[in-house]
Structures are given as structure tokens and as C-alpha cells.
Symmetry: C2
Subunit: 327 residues, 2 copies
């Protein structure tokens, strides 16, 4: 049966969501399982598990064989979101109240913890000879995500950060789980060493592109489409690609203006507009778009190690979708 790209994506999403619903089937205690279900039931893109399943298929694997790992990865991702939202004090996520806002921080800490444990459960419940390698990839990946989130928070308290430090941070915080998705997908699918390595690169590049685009969307998106406030990164003094690049390329006056705004306690809509103006004057928005394009090009090249098949085709189409995303 031939699918269009959208059909394929929606089919894979459905398989992932159904399996997660099966796993999260408990009701008591209410203030643990309800927020867990709430956290995983958003209208998210499910990019990471979909990537894992597509890569798995592209190297010759079956969905059933990789589904638990895909579901585990999506639960890990949601665990990080629930905890990050507490730390970033974000009230909205994809247009809905965050867990700590709808319940409280304690509930969010615990339901995040439990999602992480449930992810491991999903991962090891059907042990295969590849389990040790997959577990190792997951654990070292999640640890790097924790390191990336730590750096992100450390950077908020710092005046400046180099682009090198920025890339190290997003490679850990964001690109890592994309890389794990593609690595684990290709291992479970029985890919060759060359394919496994190429898919890790594909994942890492997609992840970088995704994060820099996230940074961009914070200032150029439509609030209703984005599902959260515009300029919230600026408000939190996040060292996004935009801020780091702008500071590296600003003249003294622009730099002074930027620092004044970023260090303010209450940032107004005018402040956000002024910052975006400086992003424009320092060619920062263009630079961000260029890096996104470069990353997606690199990812496309990594696909050369995969034989022609429909899943490979979808992985290529996915790059175009990411290039065009607006939320």
C-alpha cells in the first residue's frame, strides 16, 4: 500500500500514541497517573518516535520490533518537558497549561520521574540481544540531556556565551534525543555500522536544525500557532542562537541596548520588538536560517548510505517539513 507522507506520519503517530495509552492504563493514585496521561496526550508532533520508526524501517526493520523503544523515547521526551517547564516557569506548552501550572510543582516532579521510569519499563519489557546497546544509548543520551538543560540554566545567569558553547548546549539538550532516535532505530532495524553512524549524524543535524528553528520561532511566530508567548526566551534571558549571534556581531551601542533589555526584570512588548530589530540589524535572523538549511542539507547527505525505499523517501520529506514548520 502506498502512502502519502502525511498518511505515513499520521499512521506512525497513531501506533505510538495507542501503545502509550496501553502502557499508561492505571488510574490510582490520581495525582500521579492523571498528570502523566495529560503530559503525553498533547497534540505534539511525536517527531522523535516517528524518526526512530522511519529509520528502523529504512534499514529493513519492522515497526513491531522498534515500537517499544519509540514509545520509550517519546516518554523520555515528555519527562524532560514536564521538568523543564517547572525550571523555566513556563505556564503554557502547545497551547495548554503545563503540568506544574495545572497541578503544582510537586505533582510535576513526580509525574516526570514516573514517566522516565515507565520509559525504561517499555524499553526492557521485551528484551532482545540488542537490549544492552539500546539501554546504553538511552541512558547516556538522557544524561547528556540533563547536562544540556543544566548548561541552558547556567547560561541564563551569564552575560555572554560563545557560539561554540551554545552548540555544545543544544547538541546535548535537544539534538541528543534525535540522535538517539536515529541510532536506536538503525540498531533495532539491523542497519550496518556505516548506516548506524550515518543515521546518528542525520539525527544530530535534524536536532540542531530543530532547536535553532525553535529559537527563531520564539520571535517570528504567531502566538496562537506557537501555543505559547512570543519572546519568552528573551524574557527568561535564554542564550538562544539569536542572542549569542547578535551579541557576537553587534556594535557597542547595539550591545549595550541588548544587555539593558536582557537584564531587565519586566520585559515589555516594546523591549521584545527592540531586541528583534537588533537581531535584524546584526543579520542574525538570516544567519539562523542559513544554519538551519545547512544542517538539513547535511542530514540529507547522511541519507545517501540508505538504499532507496519508501521510508528513506519519508526521511527526506521530513527534512522539508522541518524546514517549513511554524510551531
Amino acid at each position: 500500500m502506498t502512502h502519502t507522507f502525511e498518511q505515513k506520519l499520521s499512521e506512525l503517530k497513531k501506533v505510538v500514541v495507542n501503545r502509550m495509552d496501553e502502557i499508561l492504563n492505571k488510574t490510582e493514585p490520581v495525582t500521579l497517573w492523571e498528570p502523566m496521561r495529560y503530559a503525553i496526550s498533547s497534540v505534539g508532533k511525536r517527531l522523535r518516535p516517528v524518526l526512530l520508526l522511519l529509520v528502523n524501517e529504512a534499514v529493513g526493520g519492522s515497526v513491531e520490533n522498534a515500537l517499544d523503544a519509540a514509545v520509550a523515547l517519546e516518554m523520555v521526551h515528555n519527562f524532560t518537558l514536564v521538568h523543564d517547564d517547572i525550571m523555566d516557569n513556563d505556564d503554557l506548552r502547545r497551547g495548554r497549561e503545563t503540568v506544574h501550572k495545572k497541578w503544582d510543582a510537586n505533582v510535576a516532579i513526580l509525574s516526570g520521574d514516573a514517566l522516565l521510569v515507565l520509559a525504561y519499563s517499555a524499553l526492557h519489557r521485551n528484551p532482545s540481544d540488542k537490549l544492552p546497546e539500546v539501554l546504553n544509548d538511552f541512558s547516556s543520551g538522557i544524561l547528556r540531556v540533563c547536562e544540556g538543560q543544566t548548561l541552558d540554566k547556567e547560561f541564563e545567569a551569564r552575560d555572554s556565551v560563545t557560539l561554540e558553547e551554545y552548540f555544545d548546549m543544544i547538541d546535548k539538550k535537544t539534538a541528543e534525543l534525535f540522535s538517539v532516535a536515529c541510532h536506536v532505530g538503525s540498531i533495532l532495524g539491523g542497519g550496518s555500522t556505516e548506516q548506524v553512524n550515518a543515521m546518528k549524524i542525520y539525527g544530530k543535524k535534524v536536532g540542531r536544525a530543530f532547536q535553532i528553528q525553535d529559537d527563531l520561532l520564539d520571535v517570528i511566530s504567531d502566538e496562537a500557532v506557537l501555543g505559547k508567548d512570543i519572546g519568552s526566551d528573551i524574557e527568561e534571558n535564554k542564550k538562544t542562537f539569536l542572542v549569542v549571534h547578535a551579541l557576537e556581531n553587534a556594535d557597542e551601542e547595539q550591545k549595550k541596548k541588548l544587555y539593558t533589555i536582557l537584564n531587565k526584570n519586566n520585559i515589555t512588548a516594546d523591549d521584545v520588538r527592540n531586541v528583534i530589530d537588533i537581531f535584524g540589524q546584526t543579520n542574525t535572523l538570516t544567519a539562523a536560517r542559513n544554519i538551519v538549511d545547512e544542517c538539513l542539507d547535511d542530514a540529507k547527505k547522511a541519507l545517501l548510505s540508505i538504499p532507496d525505499n519508501s521510508a528513506k523517501h519519508y526521511l527526506s520529506e521530513l527534512l522539508d517539513t522541518i524546514a517549513k514548520r511554524n510551531s
Copy 2:
């Protein structure tokens, strides 16, 4: 070589601590690895890993074979402490500032998360044919700990809780990790099905005794020995064995007095003394001591399935130590 009980305990503790130090050898980012090391470097009793190693030895296993699991369990335990301390807003733990107090809640959330992931890493880094069973036991155990902590927090907001609900809560929150310790220890040591089942019971009973004693120590201990404030459970409106038993056995006047104090926002030293008086009048302190003794007796009986050896002897001595602990 013959050891005294204290020598044996201190030797096992040392092996566990050394292996944890080896694992936690990273330094960057500082605000992740430093609090992780701080969290595991306390003067704790290391009861859970010691139990795991003793049970493993009692059924014929070698320390080296079970050490990673023991270390994993201790890291899981410390992960729960770091997160629980945020939720309970506790400033002190074993006489030292808690992680969220010394750094902040964000650092405590992340370093707790990372400790959990590192525990899994330790668990799966030397895969054996028993890995799936051990992983399953760990994950379902930690999930139950999260459920127990959720119930503990839910109960704080409730006026009354039955003794049945109380036991369900502490079996999950506290006894579970003791049970996992003994279960995993006996599996890794190659124990028979009968021994594995008996050791699970041993662990669960030790865990129950331990928690009820914790409840007792909150009101009868010396602050300096305990390393935290006396009466802090009362302050947080925790549904300890003492409160639940006292409410079930109080007359109307005592009940009214108890509720008045427990629902106050600022509890004084006088309030704490009044509550302890009611605990005395309702025979609650005696009842608590009796249950601790019963649990330890049951645990001793469970040891009958183990052949006579020095590790079994230590497991028996451990029960006496727990009976006498004052912090």
C-alpha cells in the same frame, strides 16, 4: 577471615561508596555533577545496598557480581531523597543542607533526574542473563516509590487516613526499595525460588519496621542525633503511623485537639509537645513499637529459608541494629 558485624557493614559500605565515587567522576557542568556527588556523599547508613549485598552473599553470590546493582539501588534511593526534600520543603537531611536548599529547586530536580539515569547505567553496564528480571524489578519498584510519595503528599491534604491506607503508602514509599534490595540480591546470588520469595518478605518487613521507626524518631529522637527538626512530620501534616493510629483511638476531645494543631499553619514547640502527649494517651507510641517488633520478628522468620552462613548471621544482627536505631 572472620568479621564482626560492624566490620562487615563498614566494609560493604566502603565498597559501595568507592564504586559510586568511580561512577560520579565527571566535573562539568558543575551545577549538575557537584550536587550529584554531594547527594550521594552523606554519612548515610547505606542500608539498601548493604542489604542487597548481604542477601546476595547469603544465597551464595559474590560481591563483585552484585555490586553494580547495589550501587544502582543506592543511587535510586538518593534520587528519591533529593526530589522528596524539594516536595517536603525540608532544609536539612542527615544534619546537612538539602540539595535544593544548598543550590536551588532546579538544580535539585536535574541532579535527582541524573542520579536516576546513572543508576540505570550502573545496572545495565555489565549485562548478565538476569538483567531483564533485575531491570523489571527495579523499574516496577521505583514506579511504586513514586506512587507511594504521591499518596504521602495526597494524604497531607486529607483530614484522615485509615491504617490500611497508611500501610499501602509506606509499603510503596519505603518498604519497596528494601524489598527490591533483597529480591535483586537473591536473584543475582542465584537463590532458589523459595529463597527469593522469602527474601522479598524479609525486605518488605524490614522496610515497614524502618518507616514506622522513622515516624517514631520524628517525635522521640534528639534533634542533633536525628540531623533534622523534631516534629517536622507534625508540621507538614504528614499522615504518619502515629497520627493515623492516634486519630483512630482518640476520644472526641483528643481528636478535636489533634485536628486543631495539625491544621495550624505555624506549629510551636508547645503544639508538638501536646501532640506527643496525645500519642502517649492513645497508646500510640507503644503500638508503633509493637508493630516494629512484629515486623522484625517476621523478617527473622523469613531468614529460615537461608542455610546457616555468616551473611545470614549478619542479616539477623541487622534486625537488632534496626530495632535499636536512634537516627
